[in-house]
Each structure stands twice: as structure tokens, then as C-alpha cells.
């Protein structure tokens, strides 16, 4: 079932602030299609949890409308909405066994005891919880609790599954594993899912599409490729992964993309986004792994020269910081150092990039 937010805003009264209120969610438009896995990604306090709670019904939007399967649900309380939430703290009922926790949703629906038992057993089997059925929640590990929370949420066959940073309490290894498990469960049941995280790797690996948020507003909605390689603005480019920004002037558009002046050299970016005017200023974003480093030869006209300031050898890659006389060092990553060789601190290098790897953006950070 689809979920649609139409210009949804949420304002909280907050007497501790001088203005007396805080806009946690600001005119958010979002459409999640049936069976899709969408992630809300953004820094702490950007309104992810609030958005999720508006969809589940725990917060009422101050303005705007929420639709689930095309039906406006603004006035439906959470217990009447066909959504299930996996809470960050798991919120497992401490006075019930694993089995009772998992079956609680069906029980509330008044299903016959036998059916509840059967269905609970089935779901616990799928989730690998069968051996733990009689345990109390305080006898479970973090990963097991997480699975109980997930099982409890999916047993009702909700139209929409909501996750609020469900993995933040787990250690790194378990996190990788659970991430795949969540994706597997979601795909096998085909449940429309909205997932909140502030971990970009997590977002990239599980999502069909990512919604990048900042200050209560949606910065970009797109596939992992789009938000990483074709970011809508500087905030998105910077928040997801590392990036070098090169400010350019005198932009001109062509078939191949955008050409502009960078410190006297004409450079080309293969794609662009945002409000850039012909003849005006822009910013060209290049990811560190797309920058090519070559020994300084003196002859070839490269767009930038510099000196290696820092080289960190990580085995698979070498990370460089290059002093090119700019106000920030340029970041570059080179792969497969065994074959490609590597530079040492103090070496002079010249930098280039293929136009396809460069993306032009409007100069201001956030529109």
C-alpha cells in the first residue's frame, strides 16, 4: 500500500527556545509506492522520527495531510492505522514471553487462540526465534530482541512497516547482518517500508529510494545512485560521503554538460542539479575516488596541481590529502595501490577527473 505525505508540517511548542516553538517537520511531500523500501536519512534533529510518528499516528501533523492507500488518515488514531512500528528501543513488553510478545497483535485482533499460536509459531520460525519462545525479554541479547520486535511488527501483516533506527543499539557486525535480514523479510512479505537512520551506509544498502532531510525539510528524494552521484544540492553531496567542491564561474551549458571557469582553466561537469544560470557561478562536486592523480609533469595542462600533504595507506586504498593552495585540502582516494603505485608525502601531483564524475551544483549550500 502506498503512503503519501502532502505538505506535512509539525510545530512543537518549546518554551525553552526564544521563539517558543520548533518546526520539526517543514512542508514535507513524499510518496512511497507499494512494496517500496524508502529510507529517511539526515543528521540528528532533522525531523526523521517526527515524520515517522506522523505516519504511524502518534503525532498529529500541524498542517498537511497523510494518506495511506489513498485514504486520508489524519484523524485515525495509531491503533486504527494499518501500520506497524519497530521502535528504536524495541519496546518489548517486559512482562510477556517472546511468544506472547510476537502473538500480541493477533490476540488484540481477537483471532482464535489456535490461529494465534499457529501464526506465531510460523513467524518465529521464519525469524529464527523458535528456540527462544518461552524466554523473558530480559534473557535475550540485543540482536534477539531486535528480531522479536520485528516479528511482532510483521505478524499483523501491516500495509506499512515503520522502522526508527532499529539497529542503532547493535554492534557493527550484528548491524550488517540484521540489515540484510530486515531487507530479506521486507522483500519476502512485500511490505511497504519506511526506515529511519542517520547512517548513510545503512541507507545505501537497504533502500530503493532515500529521502535526505535537513532542518525538517526534504533536501532530495532519489535512488542511492542519485543521492550519491547526482546530489540535488551541496548539503546532500556533503552529508552523503566525502566530496570536494570547486567553485566555478561563467557557466555555459552544452550537450555534454556544463563548462565553467575554474581559476583560469575551463572544466567540464557531466551533470548538474539546482538553480545555475548561464554565465553565472556554480560549484563542481567531485568525489575523492573520482580524482585522478598523476606525477607532476609540468607539460600537461591539468586543472589543479598540488603537493601530497597526508597519505594514509589502508590496504585496499590509499587516502590522500593534497595541498593545492586552496582554503581546504583536496581529498583523493586511489585504489589498488599494489598495481597503481602510490605517492608519498611531499610528492607533487597534478589532478584531473572525467567529466562524467563531476556534478555541478548551485553555489549556496541549501536552496
Amino acid at each position: 500500500m502506498s503512503v503519501r505525505l502532502d505538505k506535512v508540517s509539525k510545530v512543537f511548542l518549546d518554551p525553552s527556545r526564544p521563539e517558543g516553538s520548533v518546526t520539526a517537520v517543514d512542508r514535507v511531500d513524499l510518496e512511497v509506492r507499494e512494496g517500496e523500501f524508502v529510507t529517511l536519512l539526515g543528521p540528528s534533529g532533522c525531523g526523521k522520527t517526527t515524520t515517522l510518528r506522523i505516519i504511524s499516528g502518534f503525532e498529529a501533523p500541524t498542517r498537511g495531510d497523510v494518506f495511506i492507500s489513498g485514504e486520508r488518515v489524519n484523524d485515525q488514531p495509531p491503533n486504527k492505522r494499518d501500520t506497524s512500528m519497530v521502535f528504536q528501543s524495541y519496546a518489548i513488553f517486559p512482562h510477556m514471553s517472546v511468544e506472547q510478545n510476537v502473538g500480541f497483535g493477533l490476540e488484540l485482533k481477537g483471532r482464535p487462540k489456535a490461529e494465534v499460536r499457529e501464526e506465531t509459531a510460523r513467524i518465529m520460525n521464519v525469524m529464527g526465534l523458535t528456540a527462544l519462545a518461552k524466554r523473558r525479554p530480559d534473557q535475550l541479547s540485543g540482536g534477539q530482541q531486535q528480531r522479536v520486535a520485528l516479528a511482532r511488527a510483521v505478524i499483523n501483516k501491516p500495509s506499512v512497516l515503520l522502522f526508527d533506527e532499529p539497529l542503532s543499539n547493535l554492534d557493527a557486525k550484528l548491524r550488517d547482518q540484521m540489515r540484510l535480514e530486515i531487507r530479506r523479510i521486507q522483500q519476502s512479505f512485500g511490505i511497504t517500508s519506511i526506515y529511519v537512520t542517520h547512517d548513510q551506509i545503512e541507507a545505501m544498502t537497504v533502500s530503493d529510494r532515500i529521502v535526505v532531510m535537513e532542518g525538517g525539510r526534504v533536501m532530495q528524494i532519489g535512488t542511492p545512485f542519485e543521492v550519491y552521484s547526482r546530489p540535488a544540492n551541496r548539503f546532500v553531496a556533503d552529508f552523503i560521503g566525502r566530496v570536494n567542491f570547486f567553485p566555478v564561474t561563467d557557466a555555459s551549458f552544452s550537450e555534454e554538460g556544463l563548462d565553467a571557469d575554474y581559476r583560469g582553466v575551463r572544466i567540464r561537469a557531466g551533470s548538474r542539479n539546482g538553480d545555475i544560470r548561464e554565465g553565472g557561478a556554480a560549484v563542481v562536486a567531485v568525489r575523492p575516488e573520482s580524482l585522478r592523480l598523476e606525477p607532476e609533469s609540468g607539460s600537461a595542462a591539468r586543472f589543479l596541481r598540488g603537493r601530497i600533504d597526508k597519505a594514509v595507506y589502508l590496504g585496499a586504498v590509499v587516502e590522500y590529502e593534497i595541498d593545492a593552495g586552496l582554503d581546504r585540502p583536496v581529498m583523493a582516494v586511489s585504489h589498488d595501490p599494489v598495481v597503481a603505485g602510490f605517492f608519498r608525502v611531499g610528492d607533487g601531483v597534478s589532478l584531473s577527473f572525467p567529466p562524467a564524475a563531476a556534478h555541478a551544483l548551485a553555489p549556496e549550500a541549501v536552496p
Binding site: L13, P15, G20, S21, S56, F58, P77, P78, N79, K80, T83, S84, M85, F87, Q88, S89, A91, I92, F93, P94, H95, F104, G105, L108, K109, R136, D138, R152, N156
Partner: protein, 563 residues
């Protein structure tokens, strides 16, 4: 009010209108608090200011010009301050010994520090008379001293220190437990000497707890009635007893009321300081998991010293209980020590009505008070409605109001229409319910704050409505806390005297009041036998509730009820 604030309370009102059950409960609780807590208090203050229909300060002028009454005020404050300091000192010693010093027999020390909390608060005074009084075992039987000056300051000081240090112990143990010992280890590691680490790290971290404990002890000592009634004597008058004597001996209600107002002022002041200032200064929450302590903060010599001091206090407390037990079994205390059961026979014969009445009153009032406490805790923590702050303040106020004041308030407020209750069972029940409601509220608040609201939201999310969520999720989670709150409320109801002594009648009497009467007429054996039975009943009840909780809720329930 700003527009926004008005908007917010409009929102609250709208929510109430949409939820009539909530609106009804809120209104009923607020009304009950007003009638059974504020109205009696107001009555006391009004009678002291308007003894015969016109406003005047005459009564207070009379009190202030009477050196004997004024002496009572000074003595009360003095005892309050000294007990706060000494009691907190001993409490800290025990808490430090148990949590930090790694002394032997920790469990026994803990048990010894707990026993006085679950005993009648005047058992110390009774035992002191039996040990050091005119026929005292130590002063007379052993040392042959006649008229050892135990009545007055010395005796009362000892009795109150013994009675109230356990309260400090419980608070400070929680505080010390929650200070991560690795902080001390870190300071030692930085090269601090043990004493410096104690002074610069441990003590400052425990300071808010110490301050809070002192204020609580000050309040409880001011309100103490049983110990001074037995021990203070006429040369060392104490305010709470004076107020009682003004009313029961001289039938002077206005003066009694004025004295109790004098009692009320410092006590409520201390409470407000503790509630709104000191308790906010806590560096640490009391709940944290105790980390395994490496306990290097105490050197072996200091450990022995601490242990010796704890042993001395322990020995004295055991002596108190031994003498009570022995006194209950001796034919005539001090002169004829042949064992006899006649005091117990007396309790189960002539005195049994008081036992039955006490059990009835405590048995009825405790569950009601616990339930009210849970409801208030739930409303205050989980709901927002107009009057929430007022509800919180008023319901907790009983803790700060000395029993004497509230007792006088009840006879003033409920001896005339519209509510004539004096002499009935109901007045005692109401008094007990509202007086001990803070106990239930505190345990309710503690548990609700530990329960992640997301757990209740999870139930709603799965399709439960408000009532199902409360009954299937919230209630089962707070029931263990309800019962552990009940234990304390029951103990306090069983051992109550300061307010109840004004409200008993020939129809409804209490064991505590009986014990006082026996002491006053010199029948220490009967008093001791009553006390033994009282303590046994309380212990029995505690074990019963514990066993029930364990059986019903397993580990989850058993762990809730710890002392």
C-alpha cells in the same frame, strides 16, 4: 499567560473533553485532594488566626510570649538539626561500609539498618526507657543508679538517631551505588591519596544525596511524636507533644493549632528546598546498574575502623530489639525477670480489639492508598491536563506535613457539617489513605519513569485502544511496584501514631496508641508485648507480599521488592 500557553491549555482541555473517563478521574482526584489534604490544613491555619470569629495574631503573640512554648519550638528545631546531621552521619557510615569499604557481614549490616524502618518509630524510645530508665536494666540492675537522667535531650537524641538513620542509609546507599567506582579508581590512578580522593571525588558526588537526606531527616524528626512523648519529659518540651497536650490536656484548640502551624512552617520549607532544589542537583540517577567495584578507596586500617563503628551501632540496635523481646516476656521489668506469657495473653485478651482495629484500618487503607498513588503517578507522568502540577504538589505535600498538624486538621475539619466524621472508622481510613499516598506515588513514578513510553505506544501501534493498553500492558508492568509501594504504606499505617492519636476513639483504637497508653501508665511489659506483635505482623505481611510477587511474577516481580 501568553497566547501560546493559552493554546496549550486549550489543547489539554480539548483532550479532556474527548476522553471523559480521564476527565472524570482527574476531577475526582483533584476534589479529593482538596477536601482531604488542603481543607484540613487550611482549617488548622484558620483556627490559629481566627480563634473566635475575627482575624487576629493574638494566639501567636501568646505563644511567642510564653517561654515554655517557645522552648518547645527551639528544642524541636535543635533536635531536627542534630538528628539530621547525626542520623545522616551514621547512615553514610553504613552506606559507605556496604557499598565501598568491602567490610564483612554486609548483608547483616544491611538487615540491621532496615529493621528500624519496618518497626514502630518509637521502639527506640521504649527500649531506652527499659535499658536506662528508673528501672532500667543497665542503669538500675547493672549499675544501681537511681534516676539516671535519660529523660530529655540525651535519651531523645539517641532514640531519634536510631529511628531515623535507616532513612538516610537507604538514600545514601542508592547514591553511593550509583557513583561509578571507576571514577574513584581514575582519581587514585592520577595519584591522589585515598583520603583526597574521598574528599575530592566521592564526597562531592554524594553531596546532593547527603543534603537531601539531611532535609528529609529534619522533616521526619520535627514530625516525630512517639519518641518525644515517651522520652522528652517536661524539662525538655518538644513542639509536637506540646500541641497534642494543649488539645487533649487543656482543650485549647487554637493554641494547639498555632503550635502546629509553627511546626508546619520549617517542615514545609525544608521539603520545598529538598523537592525543588536539592533533588535537581543530583549528579547521578539512583537507578544505574552498580558497576563491579574494585574498592581500593579504603585502606585496611580505615576499613577496620568503619567496621568497628558499624558493629557498635549494630550491637546497640540488637540490644534494643532484645530488650523489647525480653521485656515482653519478663514478669515485671527491672525487678522480676521470671519469664511469663501473661503480657501476650493480655494483648490477645483485653488488648486484642486494638490489634483487630489496627489490622482492619491498615488492611483497608493500604490498598486504597496504593491504588490512589498509582493513579496519581500515572496521571502526573503520562498525561497532561490542567491542574497537573497542583495535583503533584498537593498529593506529595502530606510527606511534609507533620502528623500532628494533619491530625488536628482532621478533627477541626470533620467535626462539623457538611462532613461529620469524628469518631468513625472512615476518618481514620481517609486520614491514612491520604497521608500515605506519597509512598504509592513515589514507587509509581519510579517505575513509570523506568518504563519506556514506547512500550505503551507499541501496544497502541499493534491495535490496542487506551483501555486495553492500560490493562494489558501498563498495569501488569506497574503491579509489582504497586505491591512494593504497598509494603511501605502498610508499615507506615501499622506504625502511625502522630495524626492517628487525635482520631482514635473508644470504637476504633490502634495498637500504637495502646502502646503509648501502656507506657504512660508504666506497664512496660504490655507495651513491649504489643510492640513485638506489631513487628511480627509487619514482618509477616512483608514476607507474604514478597512470596506472592515472586510466585506471580518470577524474577521480574521479585526484584521489584527490594529494600
Amino acid at each position: 499567560m501568553t497566547d501560546r500557553a493559552i493554546g496549550a491549555s486549550l489543547g489539554e482541555i480539548r483532550r479532556l473533553v474527548r476522553d471523559p473517563l480521564l476527565a472524570f478521574v482527574v476531577a475526582a482526584v483533584l476534589a479529593a485532594l482538596a477536601v482531604f489534604i488542603l481543607y484540613p490544613l487550611a482549617s488548622v491555619i484558620i483556627v490559629s488566626l481566627r480563634p473566635d470569629g475575627r482575624w487576629t495574631l493574638e494566639i501567636f503573640r501568646h505563644v511567642v510570649s510564653n517561654p515554655y512554648l517557645l522552648q518547645g519550638f527551639r528544642n524541636s528545631i535543635l533536635m531536627g538539626v542534630l538528628t539530621a546531621v547525626i542520623g545522616t552521619g551514621i547512615g553514610f557510615l553504613f552506606a559507605f561500609a556496604v557499598t565501598r569499604a568491602d567490610v564483612p557481614f554486609k548483608r547483616i549490616l544491611h538487615a540491621v539498618a532496615i529493621i528500624p524502618i519496618v518497626s514502630p518509630p518509637f521502639i527506640g524510645a521504649l527500649a531506652i526507657i527499659m535499658l536506662f530508665g528508673n528501672n532500667g536494666f543497665i542503669t538500675w540492675n547493672l549499675l544501681r543508679i537511681r534516676n539516671f537522667p535519660i529523660y530529655g535531650f540525651t535519651g531523645l537524641m539517641i532514640a531519634q538517631a536510631v529511628t531515623f538513620f535507616p532513612v538516610a542509609y537507604l538514600t545514601l546507599r542508592g547514591v553511593l551505588e550509583s557513583i561509578n567506582p571507576t571514577l574513584e579508581d581514575a582519581a587514585l590512578d592520577l595519584g591522589g591519596s585515598r583520603f583526597r580522593v574521598f574528599r575530592r571525588v566521592t564526597l562531592p558526588l554524594a553531596m546532593p544525596g547527603i543534603a537531601s537526606s539531611m532535609l528529609v531527616l529534619f522533616i521526619e524528626t520535627l514530625a516525630d511524636f512517639g519518641n518525644p512523648l515517651i522520652l522528652a519529659g517536661s524539662r525538655f518540651p518538644i513542639l509536637s507533644v506540646q500541641a497534642y497536650l494543649q488539645i487533649t490536656g487543656m482543650y485549647d484548640l487554637p493554641t494547639g493549632a498555632a503550635l502546629s502551624v509553627l511546626l508546619l512552617v520549617p517542615s514545609v520549607t525544608a521539603w520545598v528546598i529538598q523537592k525543588y532544589w536539592v533533588s535537581r542537583k543530583r549528579y547521578v540517577t539512583i537507578t544505574g546498574k552498580p558497576t563491579i567495584s574494585s574498592v581500593k578507596i579504603v585502606s585496611p586500617a580505615v576499613r577496620s575502623l568503619i567496621f568497628a563503628a558499624c558493629l557498635a551501632v549494630t550491637a546497640f540496635i540488637l540490644l534494643i530489639y532484645a530488650s523489647i523481646l525480653w521485656g515482653a516476656l519478663a514478669k515485671v521489668w527491672g525487678s522480676d525477670n521470671t519469664p511469663t506469657l501473661r503480657h501476650f495473653l493480655y494483648v490477645f485478651g483485653v488488648g486484642f480489639k486494638a490489634v483487630r482495629d489496627t489490622l482492619t484500618i491498615a488492611g483497608l487503607s493500604t490498598p486504597a492508598s496504593g491504588l490512589l498513588g498509582m493513579v496519581i503517578a500515572f496521571l502526573v507522568i503520562r498525561k497532561s491536563f490542567p491542574g497537573r502540577k497542583f495535583m503533584e504538589f498537593t498529593s506529595m505535600l502530606s510527606f511534609a506535613v507533620p502528623g500532628t498538624v494533619i491530625g488536628i486538621g482532621y478533627i477541626l475539619a470533620f467535626n462539623k457539617p457538611p462532613l461529620v466524621l469524628t469518631g468513625t472508622l472512615l476518618i481514620l481510613l481517609l486520614n491514612f489513605v491520604f497521608r500515605y499516598v506519597p509512598v504509592g506515588i513515589e514507587s509509581g513514578v519510579a517505575i513509570l519513569q523506568q518504563i519506556d513510553p514506547a512500550i505503551e505506544e507499541a501496544a497502541v501501534d499493534l491495535g490496542a485502544d487506551a483501555r486495553t493498553t492500560f490493562s494489558r500492558v501498563t498495569l501488569p508492568m506497574i503491579v509489582p511496584a504497586y505491591f512494593s509501594g504497598l509494603v511501605f504504606a502498610f508499615v507506615r499505617a501499622m506504625t502511625a501514631i502522630s495524626a492517628a492519636i487525635f482520631l482514635v476513639s473508644s470504637r476504633w483504637n490502634l495498637m500504637t496508641v495502646q502502646i503509648m497508653a501502656q507506657v504512660e501508665s508504666g506497664r512496660l511489659g504490655a507495651a513491649a508485648a504489643f510492640s513485638v506483635i506489631l513487628v511480627l505482623i509487619i514482618f509477616g505481611a512483608i514476607f507474604l507480599i514478597r512470596a506472592l510477587l515472586k510466585a506471580r511474577y518470577g524474577r521480574y516481580g521479585g526484584s521489584m521488592l527490594k529494600f
